[in-house]
């Protein structure tokens, strides 16, 4: 179970799959390791040591608003974490949010990439316009959606509805309260808007690396566009879809800006990062928040291990067949 073929969109992985060094150990092994060490050590110091501290704090009774009452708490914090309904529902929210955003933006991104792969007037302009959402700073995007688009009294969406209804002489346009009526969808929509261009870029890269001779040969053989897509394009794109899915999941699981800005965690949209943030910085339950953090770390390690292996084995089957 190795991961070499898993993540990167590399075409000819087989050929230059590296062989582990053999033979004389010692000096030569360390010479190989040397370029790796700075990055490795840096990462261990900056990301792993804090988690050791988190682990220690998770066994402490520590609320910074109550400084006199600090001490060893045993597993109390973990008991609280596992019995906390809010935390449980935030796990579900996180899963739903991530899955929805990743899947929808992958599908939309695929559609847009296929469109951009055709020839038409102003393709460069269209691509530039489509990339724009990804380049808006996320917190700016969240503010934009919350205040300038979703706002029920002066947001663009309801403004456009008023305008359209006004065209037909109606004085009573529907004025949905977007965030209140569909809070999670509102967050999902703003994130899909931001991430679709990213998926599109990755998939476009995949499309442009397609072996065109095979596609042309298929056309000459009388294959329909659907058949070309199904049997040539899609299998080729598969690794790019996986790459997009993986990268997207990594970032959206951790999303904080959109939830914090758009709903302040209300209306059932509090995801894990937000809930833990709230426990840290509003409840100031340092011990409890750390315990939640530790549980989440362990959980995501398990899921990540599975996900990576499933993805990598899928890809290997693809190559073999």
């Amino acid at each position: 179970m190795t991961l070499d073929t898993a993540p990167p969109p590399v075409k000819q992985v087989r050929r230059e799959r590296p062989t582990p060094p053999r033979g004389p150990g010692g000096a030569s092994r360390w010479a190989r390791r040397a370029p790796l060490l700075p990055a490795l050590i840096f990462l261990i110091v900056v990301t792993q040591l804090p988690f050791v501290a988190t682990l220690v704090i998770s066994f402490m009774r520590w609320n910074s608003l109550d400084p006199t009452n600090r001490g060893f708490a045993g597993v109390d914090n973990y008991l609280t974490v596992f019995t906390d309904a809010g935390l449980r529902s935030s796990v579900v929210t996180t899963v739903v949010l991530t899955a929805a955003v990743v899947l929808i933006s992958l599908v939309l991104g695929l559609g847009l990439a296929l469109l951009l792969d055709t020839k038409f007037r102003g393709r460069g302009v269209v691509r530039t316009m489509l990339i724009a959402p990804f380049l808006v700073v996320p917190v700016a995007a969240a503010l934009l959606w919350k205040h300038a688009l979703y706002n029920p009294s002066y947001g663009l969406f309801n403004g456009v509805l008023t305008w359209i209804w006004g065209l037909f002489g109606s004085q009573n346009p529907p004025q949905p309260e977007w965030i209140s009526e569909m809070p999670l969808s509102a967050v999902v929509a703003s994130l899909v808007w931001q991430w679709t261009p990213f998926m599109m870029l990755i998939l476009l890269a995949g499309l442009q690396s397609r072996p065109m001779d095979a596609v042309e040969a298929a056309h000459i053989d009388g294959a329909s566009p659907w058949q070309v897509f199904r049997y040539l394009t899609f299998p080729h794109l598969r690794q790019y879809l996986e790459l997009g899915g993986l990268l997207g999941s990594i970032y959206i699981v951790q999303n904080f800006d959109a939830v914090f800005t758009i709903t302040s965690g209300g209306l059932g949209t509090a995801n894990l990062p937000y809930t833990i943030y709230q426990t840290f910085f509003q409840a100031h339950e340092y011990g409890q928040a750390s315990a939640a953090g530790v549980v989440v770390v362990i959980g995501s390690m398990i899921i990540a291990t599975f996900a990576l292996r499933v993805v990598s084995s899928l890809f290997r089957d693809e190559v073999r067949s």
């Binding site: 582990p20 990301t47 990576l308």
Partner: protein, 273 residues
């Protein structure tokens, strides 16, 4: 091949307009006065004013946006450079001359990216406090480096893996040293990939909010933190916020538009070469 593509062009244009509309709306709103920005139906043709931008640049007595913008630039560019310095050798050791068990190492790099940032933020805050590094842009730069390093190593590894082995061997037989090989064989092939990686690192650093919110204060605040300060719980702020959002997004928009070919090329490197 070019027969029936017409409708696709039209659909693509419609999609582009839909996706671009919020950005266009942001730009338009930023050029309106506060009352015009908050009407229903929208006042598309309201008079254009630069008040929102004047407010942002401190023309009306507010705080100057330059320190946060400069902070964002130094943290993003600084961390991107350190990331490249660390990631390229590491990627080399994972692809061209791989260490033993390199897949496990790569997995370790990636796995750090899956840990929730928020779970580690308290110890980081405490360390920063005791080391006197709170509100310090260098500390933030280091954190951004660690945030982007895994992805950079991962992307760079796949780019370096593209360097054909025969050429490397041939160069080695010709007696070329490591530096020469890196410069003359590896770098040219990997350059679009390096550019794409650098751009992605820059964007993610520039966008970061959580660390910046928690760890900075008076002097080291970054542009996104500054931006959130424009939302007030009392009074109108829409035009101001849109102006601020536009300016804060501007460097990323420019870099992204300019480098979009590099980005596609970098991500599809396997096939381009």
């Amino acid at each position: 091949m070019k027969r029936a593509w017409k409708p696709w062009g039209a659909i693509a244009w419609i999609a582009a307009v839909v996706f671009f509309a919020p950005v266009a709306w942001m730009l338009l709103t930023s050029l309106h006065s506060e009352p015009d920005a908050a009407t229903n139906p929208p006042s598309l043709l309201a008079p254009i004013t630069l008040d929102g931008y004047a407010e942002f640049f401190g023309g009306t007595g507010g705080i100057s946006p330059w320190p946060p913008l400069i902070n964002s630039f130094s943290a993003s560019i600084g961390s991107t450079l350190i990331v490249l310095l660390l990631a390229i050798p590491a990627a080399y050791a994972l692809s061209i001359k791989p260490v033993e068990k390199w897949t496990d190492v790569l997995f370790f790099f990636l796995s750090t990216k899956m840990l929730p940032v928020v779970a580690g933020i308290l110890p980081i805050y405490l360390v920063a406090q005791y080391a006197g590094m709170l509100d310090n842009i260098s500390f933030l730069t280091l954190l951004y480096t660690s945030m982007n390093l895994p992805i950079a190593v991962w992307l760079m590894r796949s780019f370096l893996a593209e360097v054909p082995k025969e050429i490397l061997e041939a160069a080695a037989i010709d007696g070329a040293g490591l530096i020469t090989i890196l410069r003359r064989v590896v770098a040219p092939v990997a350059m679009p990939g390096i550019a794409a990686t650098a751009l992605i690192c820059f964007i993610f650093s520039w966008n970061e909010l959580l660390f910046a919110r928690v760890l900075t204060g008076v002097v080291a605040g970054t542009a996104p933190v500054f931006l959130t300060g424009f939302v007030t719980s009392q009074g109108l702020f829409l035009a101001k916020v849109c102006a601020a959002a536009t300016i804060v997004s501007f460097p990323v928009l420019v870099a992204g538009f300019a480098a979009q070919d590099k980005l596609v090329q970098g991500l599809s490197l396997g096939a381009v070469k």
